[in-house]
């Protein structure tokens, strides 16, 4: 990587072609000796701890600025989404039943894996059109953001639960519990930091989720899936789909076995649609509009509270 970065200083304008395996244009050197044919990476979905193709068999080309194809990205269908919700639902109670300490360690482990793949994420973001400096800043901030939320797993309960001094002879306390299965329309503009800042606060409390990746940075989401897969996340806790937002947004909002939806975006018409469709089962609707993912608002425990429920329990005191 270091070597490639060194070369990049010479060919600043050239996007990184290495993902599609095209030999890098390095002048005479390439012509002089036949380069090794690189192995291409196929980007699929991440559902239930596996990497299936979309059941629909459809794909979208992901083009770079020059109009060359970077990848054939899975164009997920409603069925893919529904399958992912089944996986998320099956995983939810077990994930929530893990100790907070354990969830914290699983998240932390994923942070370690992210750090190890730093260069890959930078390169991949760059390939998808982000400037190198921005890609580096995005990746480092995303790793730190993930670690930040990992630490909340066993603290959020302490800060937001309460013992309530009721007037009768009862021991009464309120705890937070995960809302359940959350569907996510990830931010378009921030392929890694925005995605991580959206997913981590959802799963840290014990929710499971199905997210539709940014259509500008779909590859990053799937590579994140590999990171999650290589850490200790149980299958189905985080499911990542790629595809067309316009095709899927209604299903994300209307599915009756989804308890909450986190919508990141700017389109008012789409936001309205999400809010209206969510009424079918009174989903909790979380709207994240024009968030500066590097800013101070993005890093706080309050997003965790958007997808939790407060449960109050009464026990009599005395005989």
């Amino acid at each position: 990587m270091t070597e490639r970065r060194g070369r990049r200083t010479v060919t600043e304008e050239t996007p990184d072609r290495s993902l599609r395996g095209e030999p890098e244009a390095t002048g005479d050197e390439a012509a002089a000796e036949p380069s090794r044919l690189p192995v291409l990476k196929t980007y699929k979905l991440y559902v239930n701890g596996q990497f299936p193709r979309t059941e629909s068999g459809r794909y979208d080309k992901l083009l770079d600025a020059q109009g060359r194809n970077l990848a054939n990205v899975c164009r997920s269908s409603r069925k893919d989404f529904r399958d992912a919700v089944v996986a998320a639902r099956a995983a939810q109670s077990g994930w929530a039943a893990r100790s907070a300490y354990n969830r914290s360690q699983v998240l932390y482990r994923a942070g370690e894996m992210l750090e190890g793949r730093r260069e890959q994420f930078v390169a991949e973001l760059e390939t998808q059109g982000m400037a190198r400096e921005a890609a580096e800043a995005e990746t480092l901030a995303a790793i730190d953001r993930w670690i930040y939320f990992a630490g909340w797993a066993d603290k959020v309960q302490q800060v937001w639960s309460s013992v309530n001094p009721v007037a009768s002879s009862h021991f009464n306390f309120s705890l937070i519990e995960p809302t359940g299965v959350v569907s996510v329309l990830a931010p378009e503009e921030s392929g890694l930091l925005g995605l991580v800042s959206t997913l981590a606060p959802i799963v840290v409390s014990g929710n499971t989720c199905v997210a539709l990746a940014s259509s500008r940075f779909p590859l990053t989401a799937i590579t994140l899936g590999e990171v999650l897969h290589a850490s200790d996340f149980p299958p189905g806790v985080i499911n990542l789909l790629t595809g067309r937002r316009s095709e899927l947004v209604s299903h994300f909002a209307s599915h009756l076995d989804v308890n909450a939806i986190v919508w990141c975006g700017e389109d008012a018409a789409e936001s309205l649609r999400v809010q209206e469709e969510s009424v079918r089962n009174i989903k909790r609707v979380v709207l994240r509009e024009r968030i500066d993912w590097h800013g101070p608002h993005a890093e706080s425990p309050y997003p965790i509270l958007d997808t939790v429920e407060v449960k109050t329990t009464w026990h009599p005191v005395g005989s």
């Binding site: 009464n172 009424v279 089962n281 109050t312």
Partner: protein, 497 residues
């Protein structure tokens, strides 16, 4: 020898009511611009008690404008401590007029005087008292965030706990610095109107609370009014969905406290006599007009026949009749419409094949009444198990294992409340932690307190009311970091911090 009770009616001499009530807007009583009025009925006697205004769109607009004016000119500028002191005053005046409020509550809504006297009214006062103290302590409520009021809150409340729901809604809203327009339910407007008199007596600044009466159209106009910043609704899931839809795209904040179909789980190691009392409290309290009522009994098979026998015997002793009689356990059904709805479910339960057991008690000739009822042998797929009936009607099912009980309890679109009865502490904790519901009563049922957050999972609603958690729906949270930065730049610019 059967027990007999002599009548012990509460006197209504303190419940002086006007013939007619206008709208309470901007601190004054005004005639409705709609020109319409409607009667409020005593459901135990089928008699008109008073006439109240039916607020139209113009009236709603008038009330929202009054609330906005009061918010901008008065309430948001008042020191937090002074806001709190108004709330303390209101709490005290509710206590002073407790008997009158209880009598009127029971006449207007049909609930037993014992409940309005011992539960509704004292809890209403307690709510104001509790939130009064929060007004000047909001900086300590939300770590790292400064709480700001939202503006004007539109609050639509149901007929089952009229005064108490008004207190649940108004107290946190005002403590956080909002002003409010409150719409009581069509069939039970009177105690909210008495509360308006109390607010006047307390010299609450005009427009801080506006109380407008009317039916569903009034509520709809209020929720949709563009001058409203927040909507708080308690009522049916059906109407809750209409409101959630109406608010889509408006950026108004909302809390919804909706229906329920709570399971009350009795394990074989429960103290049976206590459990029987808890089951009765769970479903027959307030005629079963309780969103968190324990309307599904899940009893472990090994004790089912014994428990049902005891339950039948206990039901036989319940006194159904005059809400104003201090001996009464079950009062009048709130309205004719609600009685029809319950009777429809009695028919459905029979059709579905349930065995119906009812108390042999006599019912008064006039008024709306329903005998305490059990549906025995109910199945999970029965409508009387799945749908909220909102009456003194209990569906009884059995289970073999705890896992089965929990699966059945959670097999509902609702998630407001639940109960578990077991003398094993570990089991009670385990069951309560696995119920997907916002309030769980272990070895007790239907207890409420202003410090105790209340609200549902799933289709039982969004948000919490009561306690510290009940403040959050009435505030916008700003990071202290930015406020501090703003203050610093003000200092640098030579301005006051």
């Amino acid at each position: 020898m059967p027990w007999t009770y002599s009548p012990a009616p509460e006197s209504i001499d303190q419940g002086d009511l006007h013939q007619r009530y206008g709208l309470f807007v901007g601190g004054e009583w005004v005639e409705p611009r709609s020109g319409r009025w409607f009667d409020t009925i005593d459901p135990a006697r089928e008699e008109k008690i008073a006439e109240v205004a039916d607020a139209g769109e113009q009236d709603v607009d008038h009330a929202v404008r009054a609330a906005r004016y009061a918010y901008e000119r008065v309430w948001s500028r008042l020191p937090a401590r002074e806001r709190g002191k108004y709330l303390y005053r209101i709490a005290r005046m509710i206590q002073e007029r407790a008997r009158e409020l209880a009598v009127v509550e029971s006449r207007d809504g049909g609930k037993p005087i014992r409940e309005s006297r011992d539960v509704d009214v004292p809890l209403a006062a307690a709510h104001f008292f509790y939130y009064a103290g929060w007004a000047d302590k909001l900086d300590y409520a939300f770590p790292g965030r400064r709480a700001r009021p939202l503006g004007v809150a539109a609050q639509i409340i149901p007929w089952n706990f009229p005064l108490l729901m008004a207190a649940w809604k108004l107290a946190p809203a005002l403590a956080a610095g909002n002003t409010a327009v409150l719409k009581p339910a069509e069939t039970t407007p009177l105690t909210a109107l008495l509360l308006a008199e109390i607010l006047q007596e307390a010299e609450l600044p005009p427009g801080v609370v506006n109380i407008i009466t009317g039916g569903g159209e009034t509520g709809s106009a209020l929720a949709r009014h563009p001058g409203v910043d927040k909507v708080a609704f308690t009522g049916s899931t059906e109407v809750g969905k209409l409101i959630q839809r109406a608010l889509a795209g408006t950026r108004k904040r909302y809390t919804l406290e909706l229906g329920g179909k709570a399971a009350n789980i009795v394990c074989e190691d429960a103290a049976l006599d206590q459990a029987v009392e808890g089951i009765v409290e769970g479903i027959f309290f307030n005629q079963g007009h309780v969103c968190c009522a324990g309307s599904r009994l899940l009893v472990q098979e090994s004790i089912a026949s014994e428990l049902v026998r005891k339950l039948k015997a206990r039901i036989e002793t319940l006194i159904v009749g005059d809400p104003l009689d201090k001996n009464t356990d079950i009062g009048a059904i709130n309205s004719e419409m609600q009685l029809r709805r319950i009777e429809e479910y009695l028919r459905i339960g029979a059709e579905e094949g349930c065995e119906i057991y009812q108390s042999s008690c006599a019912l008064p000739e006039r008024g709306y009444w329903c005998k305490p009822t059990l549906f025995l042998g109910a199945s999970q797929s029965h409508r009387v198990v799945q749908e909220e009936i909102f009456g003194p009607v209990l569906a009884v099912q059995t289970f073999r294992t705890i896992d089965e009980a929990i699966a059945r309890a959670n097999n509902t679109p609702y998630g407001l409340s639940g109960g578990v009865w077991s003398d094993k502490g570990a089991k009670a904790f385990r069951v309560s932690s696995r119920l997907r519901a916002g309030v769980v009563w272990a070895n007790t049922y239907n207890k409420f307190d202003p410090t105790s957050p209340f609200g549902g999972y799933k289709e039982s609603g969004v948000g919490r009311e009561g306690g510290l958690h009940g403040l959050e729906p009435y505030v916008a949270l700003e990071p202290w970091v930015e406020i501090a930065a703003g203050a610093r730049s003000a200092i640098l610019a030579g301005g006051a911090p």
